[in-house]
Symmetry: C3
Subunit: 340 residues, 3 copies
Amino acid sequence: QSNVAVYGVLDSGIAYTTNTNAAGAGVTKIPTLTGSLPSRLGFRGTEDLGDGLQAIFTLETGLGVDTGNMGQNRLFGRQASVGLKGSYGQIALGRQVNMTFLATQKADVMGPNLFSISSIDLYLPNARSDNSIFYFGRFRNVSVGATYSLGRDSSAAGGPAGTNCAGEVAGNAKACRQVTGLLAYETEPYGVSASYDIMYGNAGAAGGLTSADNSDKRVTLNGYVKLGEARLGAGVIERSTRAATGLQQSDLYYCGISYPLQPLLTLDAQLARKDQKGSDADATLLVARLTYHLSKRTATYASLGRMQNSGASAIALDAGGTVGAGKTQNGLSLGLRHFF
Amino acid sequence: QSNVAVYGVLDSGIAYTTNTNAAGAGVTKIPTLTGSLPSRLGFRGTEDLGDGLQAIFTLETGLGVDTGNMGQNRLFGRQASVGLKGSYGQIALGRQVNMTFLATQKADVMGPNLFSISSIDLYLPNARSDNSIFYFGRFRNVSVGATYSLGRDSSAAGGPAGTNCAGEVAGNAKACRQVTGLLAYETEPYGVSASYDIMYGNAGAAGGLTSADNSDKRVTLNGYVKLGEARLGAGVIERSTRAATGLQQSDLYYCGISYPLQPLLTLDAQLARKDQKGSDADATLLVARLTYHLSKRTATYASLGRMQNSGASAIALDAGGTVGAGKTQNGLSLGLRHFF
Amino acid sequence: QSNVAVYGVLDSGIAYTTNTNAAGAGVTKIPTLTGSLPSRLGFRGTEDLGDGLQAIFTLETGLGVDTGNMGQNRLFGRQASVGLKGSYGQIALGRQVNMTFLATQKADVMGPNLFSISSIDLYLPNARSDNSIFYFGRFRNVSVGATYSLGRDSSAAGGPAGTNCAGEVAGNAKACRQVTGLLAYETEPYGVSASYDIMYGNAGAAGGLTSADNSDKRVTLNGYVKLGEARLGAGVIERSTRAATGLQQSDLYYCGISYPLQPLLTLDAQLARKDQKGSDADATLLVARLTYHLSKRTATYASLGRMQNSGASAIALDAGGTVGAGKTQNGLSLGLRHFF
């Protein structure tokens, strides 16, 4: 019906990565989590309520084209929300992306590519909160937003979207709560953005956050600038995890460029480095991607990537992949992306 | 395409309830099961076959906006059916609502609100049968309907839509069968309705119905009348459970009023009482709701409720919630509802 | 929106089969897997890219109308694929049907009916491969196609679509791989088709394929011819399973006729025989179906079937059903089918 738009992205390809285990074996696969973008099917709509006010809703399913499985361990794992939108901004309730998700949208030129900073911190493309109240407003060039979650992740299935922290615990105003905030100044030629994200734990929660006193905090700062046809972006994500086993801190730096070689051919390249504090478990990522646009909705792409792990670091080049500890992993990904 | 209508309801809010456990702690949450109505996404269509005959189908997913999870432990938990509709009525096959679901539609002014008689008997908003043959016909002011299920609930996930009674057992014509029937006389100013619902058990089934000789029976009787702009509704649901552990009986009485305070502002109020026979485990519910209509499709609402539990009764005010045994629970719910 | 077509089939009915267990008990049920066709809901689209090239995608959910459950143990169990289509044919990536699925489309007049050769080899209507690259081209009357899967089945839920062989194993170029191919010559009055399908195992995989050296192979050969208004089809499926427990071989022969008794009334009949090599565990199937077309999109049907099991054979007449070993099972199925 006219009230609902059915939309989505299907993005799949073939990837090869080296050194996926200690023995150094490579693997060829059709990736599950993403190609150049994660695949999805969504239903959304808006209704004009008068006076510039709109009712809005989104139901968005994540999916793996490789197997037909749903993503994020639930039916509408990418978004399930209903809200209102007006000149003051947008408020919504439900499961939805939080400010960490939105913060890097413009400065991270690779986005949630199979080889990208998402491989280093898989929370980034999964920065969503269950049971959340969402606000986002844009006032001329200034954007401000926040989410507050009463229980950040209802799934116990494991992985970044299954951290077993359902929250809404009687008599505990911290268990599994999550707060995120964003402030940005954005114009066409340049922009800067900062975000804050803190999530609390509870008994049984993943990532060592087994008490409401444990927390995982991310602060991001980034910016972009246009130089001619090129767009340059750079940023840092500072993470501080107060887990049951102690404090862990890391910085993730990234910078990149997006450049149209020809009208239909875009080159994106990114360099990133994760610095694990008080440890040599660091990692360096280098990735380049060529995208050929068959139309506005359809493109093919090829990515070349390299992840250097030092010490005990075992960060795979590809999101959801594996790598032998301390090994350097190279990879190639070819794919097809279609918006509908 | 023109053959399929995509439709749904998204309804979410924030609720606070007191005394959610023996220690008396309150909890704030974004409810899972319902706000003022349970959230859903559906696909339905009709095809004219000539001579007033139509083919009809519905696929309807229940979902929790709070987490994006599917409801009723299955993909199309609210309905999956295909059938024919004509002047003689409608027949359909599949998983579908039964007559207990339909019986209270007009007399229960609160419907499946977060605070409502659904909290007292969570089967009421989940009165569906797997593997069922459905008939419903309306002849002038008289409605008559029935369902027959060969196996009433295929899910073993627990809860009212996961009672582990798949049925269709070879050589057992009673195991997990369910029969429901309805008879109603309805006009614009007034109406009465009665329904009957009996479900049988089998090994492993929930609710103590661990044999095909066990059964759970509900008889409903209700009516409504319009007085000026007000609609008054009242009814009783008599339940009799022949479980492995013996016979349990209860009556659930309810009465309510729905009144438009202003063209866009509706007040609903309801009083209900559950009388557990041969026990003082009774409960009394009082709930009032204000609904402000932003449009025909969108509304905001506020509900105030109170559930008084006596003796060992531990019926939560909110559907799917918890309460300390014997405690009185108060609650407030604010929400937004959008039809699409 | 105009980019996406929502489509599907809902097909449900009531079936009775005799001798469902050793005691000879019959059962009445609403089938789960199929009626005359398996039920489904899909989303698909095409985009013209110029020069005869198209982007194509399909997301197709299998479902059981009886319970609302998803089929194939995953959200888009029937298909999740994205690809390109041109004059050279079609290539696609994802989870999709393979050549064994396509090979019998014209010669098997009963298709995936509840009583059909699918009951004898439940892989036939489930001949899909996860993680696959698909090619299919038609050049005048000649069709040629192939799939290559890097990991054929990610689900461990059991059954023909849950064989626990996710594949994509580092350093193992055989584990859970699957290759299928098809060659066909098809005209309006007659046609022939041949296909080849080999799947490999890995630790934990179902069907005794617990090593990458184990394999399950099917070769099909079939043809059809039109005689007046009748269409006759016949074929053979040769299977050879190199499991951990040794080699098993079988031939499945089938022949059938489809004949329009009247413009709206079609009779289909099929005879099939499975010959298990080196054993008398054979089975013979006889099924007849009358289909009355209420419209192009809607039909009712009745199937009568008989499965004779000899020796230790325990092949149920109905797909997904049970039968006492060595018993003959008769069955009747009545149903309604609706395309949308």
